[in-house]
Each structure stands twice: as structure tokens, then as C-alpha cells.
Symmetry: C5
Subunit: 337 residues, 5 copies
Amino acid sequence: MTVQYIHKVASGTALMSFYLLKRWKGSVWKVVWRDLVVYLVVYYTLSLVYRFGLGVEGRRQFESLVLHCARYQSMLPVSFVLGFYVSLVVSRWWETFRSFPWPDNTAILLATHLPGQGIEVLERRAVLRYVVLCFTLTLVTISPVVKAEWPNLENMVAKGFLTKEELQLLNKHQAASGQHVAWVPMLWACRIVHRARREGRITSDLGQKSLVDEMLGLRSRCQRLLGFNNHNIPLVYAQVVTVAVYSFFVFSVIGGQFLDITQGYASHTIDLYVPLFGLLQLVFYLGWLKVAEALLNPFGDDDHDFDFVSLIDKHRRMVEMLGEAAANDLPALSPLP
Amino acid sequence: MTVQYIHKVASGTALMSFYLLKRWKGSVWKVVWRDLVVYLVVYYTLSLVYRFGLGVEGRRQFESLVLHCARYQSMLPVSFVLGFYVSLVVSRWWETFRSFPWPDNTAILLATHLPGQGIEVLERRAVLRYVVLCFTLTLVTISPVVKAEWPNLENMVAKGFLTKEELQLLNKHQAASGQHVAWVPMLWACRIVHRARREGRITSDLGQKSLVDEMLGLRSRCQRLLGFNNHNIPLVYAQVVTVAVYSFFVFSVIGGQFLDITQGYASHTIDLYVPLFGLLQLVFYLGWLKVAEALLNPFGDDDHDFDFVSLIDKHRRMVEMLGEAAANDLPALSPLP
Amino acid sequence: MTVQYIHKVASGTALMSFYLLKRWKGSVWKVVWRDLVVYLVVYYTLSLVYRFGLGVEGRRQFESLVLHCARYQSMLPVSFVLGFYVSLVVSRWWETFRSFPWPDNTAILLATHLPGQGIEVLERRAVLRYVVLCFTLTLVTISPVVKAEWPNLENMVAKGFLTKEELQLLNKHQAASGQHVAWVPMLWACRIVHRARREGRITSDLGQKSLVDEMLGLRSRCQRLLGFNNHNIPLVYAQVVTVAVYSFFVFSVIGGQFLDITQGYASHTIDLYVPLFGLLQLVFYLGWLKVAEALLNPFGDDDHDFDFVSLIDKHRRMVEMLGEAAANDLPALSPLP
Amino acid sequence: MTVQYIHKVASGTALMSFYLLKRWKGSVWKVVWRDLVVYLVVYYTLSLVYRFGLGVEGRRQFESLVLHCARYQSMLPVSFVLGFYVSLVVSRWWETFRSFPWPDNTAILLATHLPGQGIEVLERRAVLRYVVLCFTLTLVTISPVVKAEWPNLENMVAKGFLTKEELQLLNKHQAASGQHVAWVPMLWACRIVHRARREGRITSDLGQKSLVDEMLGLRSRCQRLLGFNNHNIPLVYAQVVTVAVYSFFVFSVIGGQFLDITQGYASHTIDLYVPLFGLLQLVFYLGWLKVAEALLNPFGDDDHDFDFVSLIDKHRRMVEMLGEAAANDLPALSPLP
Amino acid sequence: MTVQYIHKVASGTALMSFYLLKRWKGSVWKVVWRDLVVYLVVYYTLSLVYRFGLGVEGRRQFESLVLHCARYQSMLPVSFVLGFYVSLVVSRWWETFRSFPWPDNTAILLATHLPGQGIEVLERRAVLRYVVLCFTLTLVTISPVVKAEWPNLENMVAKGFLTKEELQLLNKHQAASGQHVAWVPMLWACRIVHRARREGRITSDLGQKSLVDEMLGLRSRCQRLLGFNNHNIPLVYAQVVTVAVYSFFVFSVIGGQFLDITQGYASHTIDLYVPLFGLLQLVFYLGWLKVAEALLNPFGDDDHDFDFVSLIDKHRRMVEMLGEAAANDLPALSPLP
């Protein structure tokens, strides 16, 4: 589920920054604490070996290694590659969200252009169910969470989302074509609308066209979601970034060791015991990387992933309200300005 | 309210830069002065302790700490992460503004296609009221400022924005579906237009289609605003940036101390008493961060937030003018070129 | 007026770079020369004081200050913040240009769908005048240059751009609603088109719809221009960048001083008397900043601002040609391929 | 074929990073291993020559060269240029994908507006075949893989994708005009739809318009693909980046040599024998560059290229299902909500 | 003409990078070789003067100057400003290409909706000729290459692109309005279509609307091209970047001199005689800048400019094929799947 924190920061008061930091769910602390623990364990193991486990010669060699690593660590352009990579991932995540299909306009158009209370009721219900079904069948192939909710078509029949006849037709087409059948319900919806127009229940060609255009637009959006799923950011890019960040921390856990200040190494004039700066870098760079990892595939069940099961449920309630309940009443015209 | 300063810089004269700097409202000075005070208090406390409160040994250790912090401070890639983050936040803020629904075209279309002076007057009023109502009900769920203005539907009835019948219907639908009812008035508006077409007051199907398309477009924009509100920039990202900037200042308040110049530390050859450079960095980095914090949620009542209450009021006046007042008169055709 | 230089660089010859550099109008030299003079005056004042006005002790202290400033100057991330900021400003400037409304399509549509030579002539004239009027009234509220050209509605009557009846109506609506009346002429234009359709001078509903859609699209573009004017880049951002750049030059004018080379300071081994590098940085960073300042508000009369008065005049001539002159003649069909 | 890895990272668990790294297909390891081998061979050749093949004087000179190269290597802004370049290439790659034409909506529209079972069956088949043919003929001129599958029009006849009459017509037009004929099938499809409307099998002008608009939209998308192919990122840009990255490694293979630690060179205090850091940089920078090279032309048969042959096959099955199989059955209206 | 190299890199093999580098046309080598020669001449002149022309005192001063320049050279943020600038220029270049008008859809629509073989043939020819004429007249005002091909309207008559009557009308309107007349042929085309509809040769209002919408869309794209030409990237920006890059090379040609290694200057421990690194930087930064210069005005005749003369010729052939040749034949419906 997407983490909501914005309503708490409606007015950017002085304490807003601190409010942001103390959140846990979906927070940087939650995503980096495991790495933090590993870092500290390795750091202190090395530190103890250096301080108590090595002879004079070994300590001098260890010190050389530390200086070597520290020098190279600062040459890794981690912030740069992270900046570009995270920009890309965040913009894809947002573009994905912008591609979601919303059935609300279809429901309003149906209530407007097919307003009757006879067979029209069944038609409105069928069309809206098919629209939501198209979205659901799309998500089943993308999101493991939705797949878990509706593992197969039979399950949808059991849950009253599909009739047996529809099930048989979908299975038949899937078997015959070898393709997914998410578009078939949308085809049915278009044909129901066409029939309603031919038989005069929809009173204008333009009404039909508005409905069909809207529904085909929703189908295109479903297809776009499939495209986002099938063509993600190239694996090489993700790997390059991951290699860069984790190499940085291998160098950091060695190069960030405090050395014997009596040896007079430049930039080793103090021994603070706690690698504050290394931890800070860990939170910073790893947190940044985790932003990207969390958003790379927004179809799962991370803190930052989209909650599709709730969304489908919400759609079903919303189209029920707009297409049925509210289609039956219209307030009297009032002289209010 | 958005801060207006642009009209003062219409011609980019030499003094424009200075005009920009002396503004207070919505300015960098206003957003950073609290942090500036904290910084100075901590800085001078440390400075006084160092200068007068420590023995020789303590001073040497403090100096080591200062050098350590100064070294690490310069390794924090604050400007980088801020650059990418602020770009993201600013572009979202602008995209949000671009998503605002404007009812003006609907009013013009109504005055064009439903021009009569009988029941048409009531119909135009109702449709335009419903359009603005849809926008208002959307904002009530997003903006605490709008929520404060219209805390509930009953209050809207009291303020003459809603009839009792409408209130009952909205409450009924909300209770039955568990969904927000911002789209219901738009449905009513579409159905009033449909009825006017069926009963011949709107004289063409295309006129009806133009109106319905325009209104559904407005509804989609309202939905987009909800989307901006519900799916903000991941919390991790905001936290990473905040951690980076504030860590920078913790290191800065220590690492920026002037040290005893007689100790001969490189880059400590002068004692200016005032940490000019640290203050400058504070204004600079913190100001940059505050740009982002102010724009992160533009639905509040910051200096940079959108003033929705005025906007709704403006909409009501504008649609009143376009849909009513100006719908009654049309100047005679003149031979002006 | 926008500076045109592109036609001179149609083929990127070797000398193109030098052509670019020698331009004055709209050039970097024109925007930075004042700052350059100030910089040089301050620089040589300090230099003379250092070389001739200070005792030995004072010179040593001044040298410490110079080294201190030079060190800090190089730590200011000016290029970074400028890169992001200028990107933002340039993309807004271009987006603004892309939002301009062009009445040419309306004129062609009118000549196509309302081709008669009777009352149709007056109708075409009125519609096109109203379209340009809507654009003009929008710009009057944005651009001081346009405001100076047409300070009020009465002035427009005097210049034959408005009839007295129109003036009275606009004044009445403005007074009654408290809103700007730029949309009212567009409403009149839509209603004239509607009447021409009802009375059969426009022969198809689709012709009317094309015209109304086009005109409402123009109105939306006018509104977008208002939006660009009312919601500019946050003041904080502009201030942060200005503070950064000018601080940089305060540090530069001190830190760039040539010091006594006999004192043996690292990186002070030569005395060139002229701060070539400092001047170069000034041209570079300040020029970059001025790009942004010039484009921040493109509605004024800078070298880089849009020339709206000419544009409106051009629009009037163009719609006259397309809607009137060319509407009367159509060449015979020829067998040319 | 595009590499799919996203379904494995649906929930961003702690081990996700490691999962990403161990992939081979489409991975950074696969794209850089050849360069890695070359690097190591050159590195150790130089190393052995230095350690065992040179006299004292030669070793001192070699050491000077190593220090010289190491210094210059760190001044190459490789990460910067790579960041901007890869951003550009990735966004073009994605824009290319977004331009793909999908025939699914056309199939649904045909099944809706041309639903008969007589000659309509042949018409639907012909229209859908022409739509896919237009896409195929476009790709033949772009993608060597598609070209290999269908080397010429005769071959398409043999594979039952084209009739002999169609072949003759296409050949005639191609010969006469000297232009590619990918648009001609789309023209045929539009004319079949027009005839079906004139002869009453399509019952509304709007139905015809929907179909023609959809098909012309697909043709524009095909044209956009041609545009992506014909106007790629300027060669200069690609060369500049390649020169930068490979120069970096020439400097690296020399500058990264471990030197005799007894000579006391700063930053040469340890001899690790294995150039870990150089290898890491190689993986990092070269991997980043290879992201771009792989995506620069997505029409080939790289791991990251689009699999057009499968896509065309998928289109043929999908339109067969939507336009034929599913066009014959429509489930009964059910009272399901 | 745009340089095509992509078909050679369809599969990103290991040698692809080297293929890219050895190209000459449109390559980095071609754009920088002149500057490279100048650089080398200046470099070796200075080098010879230093090595053989100066006394001991002069050599010491020259060495100071070299060290001074080298230090400052590394402080110029050239890569940064180039990164942002080239991004901007490349994205504008691509946006320009995306704005090109393509007449192909108009030809298909004409063949579909105006299919007759009588006067319809002349009408189709006239409309398509006018559409290409509009594009050509637009480019004449933008591109010197197109201007050279068709220097004036009379020339177009001579080349059989325009009738004498059309010439007279265009000249008349141009003289009367003082505006360019590129839109007038589009107006004629719209009116021919309107007449064909009124006289029944086009059988539906929607067919007319499709044609007019398509043609007005093309006109808007022509206007966008004019906009790209008239409002380019601010001159200041281009100058700032040019100043930065060339200053860099002035510093480089001095600062990159090899100094007497016996003087013991840090980072001057080797004398390679050839300024490899300086040349590399030259290729790199100057190549990057030339990317931008080549794309800044894509309307000329550079290697990277658009080849408009061929494009117009191609358009004429294509619309001839689609609007005439292929409009006369339609293959029989076949039972192919």
C-alpha cells in the first residue's frame, strides 16, 4: 500500500522535517536497518582484529589497506549514478500510476445515455462488470497480490464476479488463441452498447461513440500497464547501480576504520570509535537506492506498491453507485445560484 | 497563497536581483531564520567552550574533532541529491497546477447550446453549480483549508451551496457505497444536459456531446488531483534528503569552528569569529530544501500553497457571469474590421 | 523582442562559434557588463590597498583572508544549482511559448464553414475580432507592454477595436462579477456561430462544433498563460540561486587576489595583475544566471521577452487575410500533379 | 528479446539486490566480460614487465608514467557524460516502445460495428490482415530480424500473408513511386470500411469514423517508428561518450598499476596484486555505457531488443480472436452485480 | 542530411564501439579536426619557445604560468554546463522532428472519402498539392536550403508546382496583408473539400470533418516549425557555453605543457612530449559542444540537419501514390486469415 504522509505536512512548519524523520512505515529506517546491522558487525569485527588481534607488522599493513580503500572509496561516483537512476525509476513509477484505468466516466456515461429501468439495468450492470473485469484480468497477469486474490477464472465464478457461460467462453478463446483474454470482456461491453443503440435504448450514435471511445481508452491503459510490466528498466542498469552502491560499502567498512592516531596519518588525528560518518553514508546512499528498488516494480506488496486489490474493490463499489444507485434519482431543479 | 513577484521583474534590469532578495513573504529568509538562530546558538556555545572552557588537552582534542568533521562535511553530496530532489518536487507541483479543473468552458458551452430564458435558466444554474460542487467536494478530501471552510455537507446547505434534497441523496449514496460522492453531482449535471437534449432545449446531439465531454474531462482532472494527493513522492526519498541536509549542518556547526591559528593547522590561518561561510551554506542548502518542503504538499496554507477557497469563490463568480449574465446579451454585429 | 541569431548558423561552420560570440543584442556581454565593472573596481581597490596601503602585519592578515576565501569559494556548488535552475526556467519559458493561442485555424474554419458574402461577412469579422480581443484582454492583465499599448477598454474603442455597446457590456459584467472579462468576447463569438448554424448559414452541426472547439481551445490557452503568470517558480528558489551566485563573487573578488609571490604560498607563484580567471567565472556564472532572470518573466520588454504587441497586430492582419480576403477567391482546379 | 526480471522483485525484500546481481542473461556480466578479459591481460602484461622486465632506470620511468596516468584519469568526467547520455538513450528507448501500434482496438471496433456473418467475415479478416501487414512492412524496413523472417513480398505470399493480386498491386505502386508501400494496405483497409458503410453493413457514419481514425492512428505510429530509426542520436554524441569511456580505461590500465611500495610514493603504500578497484570501475562505467549501446538501436536481436517477430505473431492471433472468434458469441445478460 | 549509422549497430556486438569510432561522416573527428590542428600548432609553438627560446629566468616564469593555468583549468565546470546544455539542444532537435507535418493521412482520407474518378481526380490532386505547398512555403521561410531550391513563387510556377492564377492570388494577399501566405493553400484545400461535400461527392459530414481536422493539424505543425525557428535557445546560453569551452582550451594549451622534470614540480615527473590528455579533452569537450552546435539550427545543410528538399520530393511522390495510383484499385476480398 502506498504510504500516506502528506496530510501531515499540509503546512510546512518548522517541525515538519522532524515529523518526516520519525515515521517508520515506508521509511528509510525500515529499509536500511538490516544493512546497517551487517555493516556494524563487519566494522567492529575488523576494528577489534586491528586493535587487539594483529602484531605490529600486521597493523601497519592493515593501516595501508585502510588508507588505500578510503582513497578509492571517494572516487566512486555513487551519488551521480544514483541521481540519474532514481530520477528514471521515480518518473516511471509515476507514469505507471498515471496509466491506471478509472471506470468512473464509463459509469456516468452509461447512467446518462442508457438511463432506463428495464433491461437497461442488466445492461448497465454487465457493461460495468466487464470493464472492471478487463482491469482485473490485466492485473492478474501482472501483480502477484491480485493473482493470489483471484488465482484463476473458476475462482472468479465462485466469488460471483463471472457467470459460468462467460467462464466457458473465456476458456475457449484462451485455449484457441494462446493469448490472454483480458480484452474479451471489453469486446462484450462494446457489443452490448452497440445492441442497445441498434434497439433504440441508447438514443444517439454519439452516445454510443462516447461509451465505446471511453472503454477502448480504458483498454489501451490496461495495455500500457502490461507494457510497463514487460519492458522494465534494463537489467544492466539496475545491476550497475547495485554494484556501485554495495562496492562503496565494502570500501567504506574498511576505509572508514579509525587508525592509531600516534602513527600520524593525515586525516587520522582522532579516534571516535563509532563510524558516524560511514553510518550516515549508509543511510543516505542505501536509502536512496532503496527508493528505486521499492518503485522498480510497483505491482507487488511493498510499502510503496500500489494496492490493487483494494482498488478493484473500490472500482466495483464506485461503478455500482454511479451506474445504479445514483442513476435512479435526480434532484429537482432548484433556484440556488 | 502563491507568492506573486513576477510583475516586478517584467524587465530584467540590473537591480532585479536585489529586488528579489529583499522580499520577505515566501522568501528564503522567512523559511530559514529559525534554523539560522539554532545554528548560531550552537555554534557560539561550542566556540565559547573551546576558547574559554577547555584545558590544553581538551582544546587539542576538540581541534582534531573539528578537522575530522570538516573533512567529512565536504564529502557529503548534498548539492547533488538536492538538485535531483527539488527538480522532482517542482515538476510535480507544476503538474498539479496543470491538472486544475476550470469550469469556464462549460459555462460558455451552456450559454451557447442551452441559451433559453425559461427552465433553461434553472438548468444552467444547476449544471454549473454541480460542476463547481464536484471540484469543491474533491478539495474537501484533500485540502485542510477547504475542509475548514466547508466542514461537512450540512454546512454547504446552510451556505446555500446545496439543497436539502441533494444533501439527502449524497448522504444516502455515501452511506450505501462507502465511497466519496464527489462524482455524483457531475452525474446529475450530465443527466440534466441529457434531458434538455431529449426535450429539445439543446438542439443538437453534438452540443450535448461537447458539454458531457467537457464535464467528464473536469471530473478526470479532479481525480488526478486526488491521485497527486494519494500517491506522493516516496517517504524514503524525502527522508534521505532531510537526513543528508541536517547531517551536513551537524558536521558544519562543528567543522566550521575557527581554531587557534597559532597551532598551524592548514586552512586555519585566520580567525574571523563569524562563520560567514557556514551561514551562507545554511541559507543555500536549507533554502533549497525548503523549496521542496513547501511544494511537497501544495494543498495546505503555506506561502507557496494554492489558495483553493478563493479559487472556488472565483469559479462561482465566473460561471455566474458567463453562464447567466453574459448569456442574455449579445452585441449587434458591427462593421469593425 | 526575441533575439534571432539562428539563421546565421544554419550551417555549423568552423567560424560559427565566433559569430555567436561577437553578437551584442541579447548577448552575455550586454547582460554582465555592469557587474563586470563593479567587480573590477572592487578588485583593484582591494589590490591597491594590499599592495600599497597596508603594513607588513596587515598584509599577512590580508593574505590569510585571501587564502580563506579562495578555499571556501571552491566549495560553493554554484554550477550545480545553476544547472538545475536554468533547466527549469528554460523549460517553463518554452512551455509558455507553446501555450500561445493562434487564431489562424479559426479563420480558416470560418472561411470554410461560413463562406457567404452577405451578413456572413459581418459575422466572420465579429468572430475573428472577438478571438483576437480575448487574447488581447488576457495579455493586458499579464504584460506591462501590452497594458501600455491598450491601457483600458475605452482606449480600445478609440482605436476601433471595440464598439461602444461592447464596451458597456464588458464594463457591466466586470462590475457585477468582479472578474476579468477576457472570456466574454469568446462567449459572444460562440453564440454568433451558434446563431449562424440555427439560421442555416453554417450548414452542418459538425462545422459549428469544429469552430466552437477551436475557440474554446484558444480560451484554454489564454488561461494557461494566466496560470504561467500567476504561479511562477517559487521565490525561494530564485533567491537561493541569486544568493549563491553573488556570494560566489564576493568570495571571488577577495580570494582571487594575487599575493606576494615571495611569501611562498602554494598556488600563489605568479602575479598576473589581471584576474583573468575571476572575470571568466563572472561571465560564465553570471551569464548563466542572467539567462534565467531574462526568461523568468517573458512578458516584459527584455531582449528575450515575447513581443506581444507585434504579435497581436500580426494576428489581426493574418485573420483579416484568411477570414476575408482569401475567403472570396478560390483558384480553378488545375491538372497539375 | 526484452529481459524479464521484474516478477522476481515484486516485493523488495532484503535479498532482492543479490537476486538482481546473479542474473546472467541481459546482465552487466555478460556485456562486459570480454572487455574485462582484455583489461586483465593488458594489466598483468604491464605488471609483469614492470616487476621483472625493467632495469632500475626503466622502473623509475614507468612509475612516473603510472602516476601521470592516475592523475589524469581522475580528471576525466566520465560519470557525468554517461549520466546524461544514458538518460537520453533510455528515454528514447521507452518513447520508441510507447510508439508501437497495437491493432487490438481496431479488432474490437470491427467486431462491434461490422458484426455480420456474411461478407462481413471476409471484410473483417481483410481489414485486420491489412493492419498487421502495414505494421510488418514497416518493421521489414527497420529491423534486420523481421527482414530475415520475411525477406520480400513474394515470401509473404508463400507464407499465406498476402494474395498474389495484392503482391502485384504493391509491386506496381512501389515501382511507380519509388516509395515504400507500407501505407497501401492501410489505405485498402480504410476503403473496405468505407464500402461497408456505403453498402449499409456498417450502420453509422460514426462507426466508420472510429475505425478510420483508429487505423490512421496506427499508421502514424508506424511512421513514428520509421522516424526513430531514421533520426537517431547524433553520431558525434555516441562517439564522444565512447572515446571518453575507453580512454578512461587506457589510463586506468596504466594508472592502476601497483608500484614498488619501498619507493614511498604517496598513495602507493600497499601492493594488492589484483586491481580490484580498476575492475570495479570497468564493470561500472562500461556496464553503464553498454546499457546505452544495447538500447541505442532496439530493433535488432540483442538481449534488450524488442522481439518483433513474436509480436507480429501475437498480433495475428489476437486480432483473429477478437475480430473473429469472439465476434460470434456474446454471453447472456446476467443479474450479477 | 541526417547521418544514418544505426542499422550497423542492430546487434550490440563487442566490436560495435569500434565501428562507431571509425565513421567519418557526421563524426566527431570531422567536427573537431580544425580545432585540433590549431591546438597542436599553438601547443608546440609554446613548447618550443619554452624548451629552446627562453633563458633560465623566463623558463621559471613560464613554469609558474603553466602551473597557474593548470590549477584554474581544473576548476572550470565545463562538463556540467555542457551536460545541461546538450540535453536541452538534443531535446529541442527531437521535438522539432516530432513536429514535422506528414501528408500521408490526408492522402488516405481523400482516397477513402472522395473516391470518384471524375472531377474528384482534380480535386484530390489539388488538395494534396496544396497540402505539400503549405509545407514548402513554410520551409522556404526557415531553411536556406529549401529557399535555394525554390527562391520565389515564380520559380514554383516554372517548376509546375503552382498555376499562374494561384501565383497571382498569393502575391495579392501577401502584398495586401504583409504576412506570409503559407496558410492560404491550406485554406483553399479546406474550401475544395467543403465544396465537394456540399455537392455530394463526399458523402458524409464526418468525412469532411476528418479531412479538415487533419489539414488544420498539419498547418499547426507548420506553425510549430516556424516557432522553433523564431524562438531558439537564448543567445546568452549559447555564448556562455562557448566561452566556457574555449576558455578551457586556452588554459589547457598553456597548463598542459610538460615542464622540466628536474625542477621537481609535483605532477610534473614525466615528459611525454605529446599532450595526449589535452588532445583527448579537446575531442571530448569540443565534440560534445559540436553536437549542440550542429543541432542548434537543424534547418541548414549540416551533416546532422534535416534534408527538407528530399522530404518534400518524397511527400509529392507519396501523396501521388496514395491519393491517385492506389485510389483506383482495391484487391478482391480473399479468405486469407
